[in-house]
C-alpha cells in the first residue's frame, strides 16, 4: 500500500479502519511519515495511543513490531540475545578434533541470534518498512532511554560478533507514554509530538458507534454523555475512551438500548476503577443518568 499523500488521506484511511482521531493527530502522523521522524504520542490512559500505532500499521500495509517497556528492560530483551543453550549444546556435540575457531565463528552467526523487536525493526526484508511501536516508554528507565536515543538517531545496532547492522529502510516509529514519569528532553527532541486529548461528545459518540457497533445509537450517545459527565467530576481515575467502549459493550450485552439508574449502578465498575470514586459517584447516579439522557 502506498504511503498517504495528504493529511486528508491519513484521516480518511484511519477512519476506514474505524479509528476516529482528530485532525491534529492525522497531521502529526502525516508529517512523521514525511520527515521520517519518530512520533511521540502522549495522553491519559485509554485514549487510543497504542491503537493509533496499530491502525497505522494497517493503513500502511506494514508489519507492526511492538516493544512493551517495563522497568529494567535491557538490550537482551529489546535488541538481541545469543541463544546460549543452543550454542552450548552445539559446542558440546563437537568432536575432540574439530577446530575451535571455526566452531566459534559458527555459533556466533545469525543462526544462533535471537532477534528482539528493535533489531527486527531495523533488519528485515519487509516490502514495506514496518511500524515500530515502543509502548509506554515511561515505564522503562533512563539507561534504556539513552540507548533508544542512539538507536533513533542513526537506526543502527552494533553486535560485536557480527558487526554493525544498519537499517535498509527507516521504520515508522511510534513511542507512547502515559506520563508516569517525565521522559528526557533529548529523546523528545528527536521526535514529533502529539497529545491525544479526551474526545468531545460528538467524537466520542462516533467512536462508540465505530468500535462498539453492537450498542444501539441511543445507547452509544447516552453512555458517551455519561462518561463526559464523569470526566468533569474530579475523580482519582478519570475514565478513558477504552472505558466508554467497555461500558457500552457491557450494556449492549445486557440487552440495553437506553440507560437507566439501575443498569448504570450495576455496571459502574466498567468505568470507575477506584473504590473511593465508585462510592462517591454511586450516590449521584440518578442525577447523572438524567443529565446524560437529556444530552
Amino acid at each position: 500500500m502506498t504511503a498517504p499523500a495528504s493529511i486528508d488521506e491519513v484521516e480518511r484511511r484511519l477512519r476506514e479502519r474505524r479509528y476516529i482521531g482528530d485532525r491534529g493527530l492525522a497531521t502529526s502522523i502525516f508529517l512523521a511519515l514525511k520527515l521520517e521522524k519518530p512520533l511521540f504520542i502522549e495522553g491519559e490512559a485509554g485514549v487510543g495511543k497504542t491503537e493509533a500505532a496499530k491502525v497505522m500499521a494497517e493503513v500502511l500495509g506494514a508489519r507492526l513490531i511492538r516493544l512493551q517497556c517495563y522497568e529494567g528492560i535491557d538490550l537482551a530483551h529489546a535488541v538481541y540475545e545469543w541463544n546460549y543453550p543452543r550454542q552450548l549444546l552445539h559446542i558440546r556435540l563437537l568432536g575432540e578434533g574439530e577446530d575451535r575457531r571455526t566452531a566459534e565463528r559458527e555459533i556466533f552467526s545469525s543462526e544462533f541470534l535471537l532477534r528482539r523487536p528493535l533489531l527486527d525493526a531495523i533488519d528485515n526484508d519487509d516490502p514495506t518498512p514496518p511500524v515500530l511501536l515502543i509502548d509506554e516508554i515511561d515505564r522503562s528507565d533512563e539507561e534504556f532511554e539513552a540507548f533508544l536515543l542512539e538507536l533513533l538517531s542513526d537506526f543502527q545496532v552494533s553486535i560485536p560478533e557480527i558487526g554493525t547492522i544498519k537499517a535498509k529502510q527507516t521504520p515508522f516509529v511510534v513511542i507512547t507514554s502515559n506520563r508516569t514519569r517525565e521522559v528526557h528532553d533529548a529523546l523528545k527532541r528527536r521526535c514529533l509530538y502529539h497529545w491525544i486529548d479526551y474526545p468531545n461528545l460528538e467524537k466520542e459518540v462516533e467512536i462508540v458507534r465505530a468500535r462498539a457497533p453492537e450498542a444501539a445509537e441511543g445507547l452509544a450517545r447516552e453512555v458517551a454523555a455519561l462518561v463526559q459527565g464523569l470526566r468533569s467530576m474530579e475523580l482519582y481515575k478519570v475514565p478513558g475512551v477504552a472505558e466508554t467502549l467497555d461500558w457500552a459493550r457491557s450494556l449492549a450485552a445486557l440487552g440495553a438500548t437506553r440507560i437507566d439508574a439501575a443498569l448504570v449502578d450495576a455496571t459502574l465498575g466498567a468505568a470507575l476503577k477506584y473504590q473511593e470514586d465508585l462510592e462517591r459517584i454511586r450516590e449521584q447516579v440518578p442525577a447523572l443518568v438524567e443529565k446524560a439522557r437529556g444530552a
Binding site: I7, L31, Y70, N178, R189, Y236
Partner: protein, 387 residues
C-alpha cells in the same frame, strides 16, 4: 517554500517568541517546522497550527502556551493575510481570557506577590567558627536575619546526607547474588561448554525520588523563604518534584531547576500566585492526588508535606486525601515548623485529622531539624513494601 519567501524569517521570529515563553525551540525544531510546512497546505489554518505544534511542543504542559503564542503571532486566523504581525499596536491581543492568563504567566508579566523579607537592620558579621555555625543550626527560621538565611543556604547546600536508595528491577553484575545465566553461559562457551565459573548479579540501586508539597499560605509566611531555599538545595542534588500551595496547588519543579538561587526564587514567586493566601490543604492534596500522583509517585517516591496544619477546609476531606496519598507513596512525612516551638501541641483541626495517616511527624524550624530529616531520608529501607 518558494511561494512564501517571507515565511522563513517569520518562523524564526515565532521560534524566538516560543523560546521567550519558556518552550524549547532550538534550531533542530525550527528545521523540523520548516520542513513540515513544505508538506502541508499552509493556507489551512488548523493544519498550519498542528504542524507547528507537533514540531515545537513536546510536553502537554506547553500546549496552552503554544496556542497562546500562536494566536498572538499568527493572528488573525488566516496566516496568508497577516502572518507574523505583532499585536499591540492597533489591535488588542487576539486571545481568549484563559489563554491570556497562560501567556502572561509564561512571560512572567504578572506582578510578583512573594514578599521577600527585606531585613534592613545591619547585623555584624559573626566570626565563622564552629560555635557560630552551631548556634545558627539551632536558630528558629522565623527569627533569622537576611544575612543568616544566606549562611543557612550554604549549610543546606553542604548538608552531607543523600536520600536512601531502593532496589530497581535492573540487574548488574556483582560478586554475590543470583546467577547471571547469560554471562555464565557466555563464559562456558569459551571453555568448550564446561561450566567453569558462575557469574552473579543483583539489583541495581537508585535513589528514591522525593516529592515536596509545601504550604506557603499566610500562616507559613515566616518560613516560606527558608523552605524554598531548602527545596532549591535539595533540587540541586536529588530527584525532586516540588509543589507549593495555599489556596491552590502549583508545581514548581521546573522553576527550581535554575542553578542560581535568586533567579530560581524569583521565578517561583512569579509563577505562584497565591503566596500568603488562605490554606486549603485538603483541596491542594485532592488536586495532587488526581492530577499529579500518577506522574510523580512512581519508583518508590517519598512524599514530604510541610505545613503548620492551619486548615480552613474540611477535615474529613483532608483525611480521605491523605489516606489515598499514603497508599501511593513509599513513605509519607509531615514536617511542621511549629513542632519546634516549646509547648506546641498538634491540636489544630488539620493536624488532628492528618496525624494518624502520616508515617513520620517531624519538626522543620531550624537547620538541625532539616538535618534530622535528612538522616531519616538517608536511612530509608531499600525494599518496596513497608506497611
Amino acid at each position: 517554500m518558494p511561494d512564501r519567501p517571507d515565511l522563513l524569517p517569520r518562523l524564526g521570529a515565532f521560534a524566538r517568541l516560543l523560546h521567550d515563553a519558556g518552550l524549547e525551540a532550538g534550531p533542530r525544531r525550527l528545521t523540523d517546522a520548516t520542513r513540515a510546512l513544505t508538506f502541508i497546505d499552509i493556507k489551512k489554518e488548523a493544519d498550519f497550527r498542528s504542524a507547528l505544534r507537533t514540531a515545537f511542543v513536546s510536553r502537554k504542559d506547553d500546549i496552552a502556551t503554544f496556542e497562546a503564542a500562536f494566536d498572538i503571532f499568527w493572528a488573525p486566523p488566516n496566516p496568508r493575510a497577516t502572518a507574523g504581525v505583532m499585536p499591540g499596536r492597533t489591535r488588542s491581543l487576539p486571545l481568549s481570557p484563559e489563554r491570556a492568563v497562560v501567556w502572561s504567566n509564561a512571560l512572567g508579566l504578572s506582578s510578583s506577590q512573594m514578599n521577600r523579607q527585606q531585613d534592613t537592620s545591619i547585623v555584624p558579621e559573626t566570626s565563622s567558627g564552629y560555635s557560630a555555625e552551631e548556634l545558627l543550626r539551632h536558630k528558629d527560621f522565623d527569627a533569622m536575619t537576611w544575612q543568616e538565611t544566606e549562611q543557612v543556604r550554604r549549610l543546606l547546600e553542604q548538608a552531607p546526607w543523600r536520600v536512601a536508595e531502593r532496589r530497581t528491577r535492573r540487574l548488574r553484575s556483582a560478586r554475590s547474588g543470583s546467577i547471571d545465566l547469560r554471562r555464565t553461559a557466555r563464559h562456558a562457551i569459551r571453555s568448550s561448554g564446561e561450566l567453569v565459573r558462575l557469574f552473579r548479579r543483583r539489583p541495581r540501586l537508585r535513589r528514591r525520588p522525593l516529592v515536596l508539597v509545601c504550604d506557603v499560605s499566610g500562616s507559613m509566611e515566616r518560613y516560606s523563604r527558608l523552605l524554598m531555599i531548602f527545596a532549591h538545595a535539595i533540587a540541586r542534588r536529588e530527584d525532586l518534584e516540588a509543589f507549593v500551595f495555599s489556596t491552590r496547588l502549583t508545581r514548581i519543579t521546573r522553576l527550581l531547576r535554575q542553578r542560581d538561587l535568586d533567579r530560581a526564587l524569583a521565578s517561583v514567586s512569579k509563577g505562584v500566585h497565591d503566596f500568603s493566601g488562605g490554606t486549603r490543604i485538603g483541596d491542594a492534596l485532592a488536586d495532587f492526588n488526581r492530577h499529579w500522583a500518577r506522574r510523580v509517585l512512581g519508583h518508590g517516591a517519598v512524599v514530604i508535606i510541610i505545613s503548620d496544619g492551619w486548615d480552613r477546609g474540611d477535615p474529613s476531606q483532608l483525611t480521605a486525601e491523605l489516606m489515598h496519598l499514603r497508599r501511593s507513596a513509599h513513605r509519607l512525612i509531615w514536617l511542621n515548623p511549629l513542632l519546634g516551638s516549646k509547648g506546641y501541641e498538634p491540636l489544630t483541626r488539620g493536624m488532628v485529622a492528618a496525624l494518624p495517616y502520616c508515617d513520620d511527624f517531624l519538626a522543620a524550624h531550624n537547620v538541625q531539624a532539616l538535618d534530622d530529616l535528612g538522616r531519616m531520608l538517608a536511612g530509608l529501607d531499600r525494599r518496596s513494601a513497608r506497611r
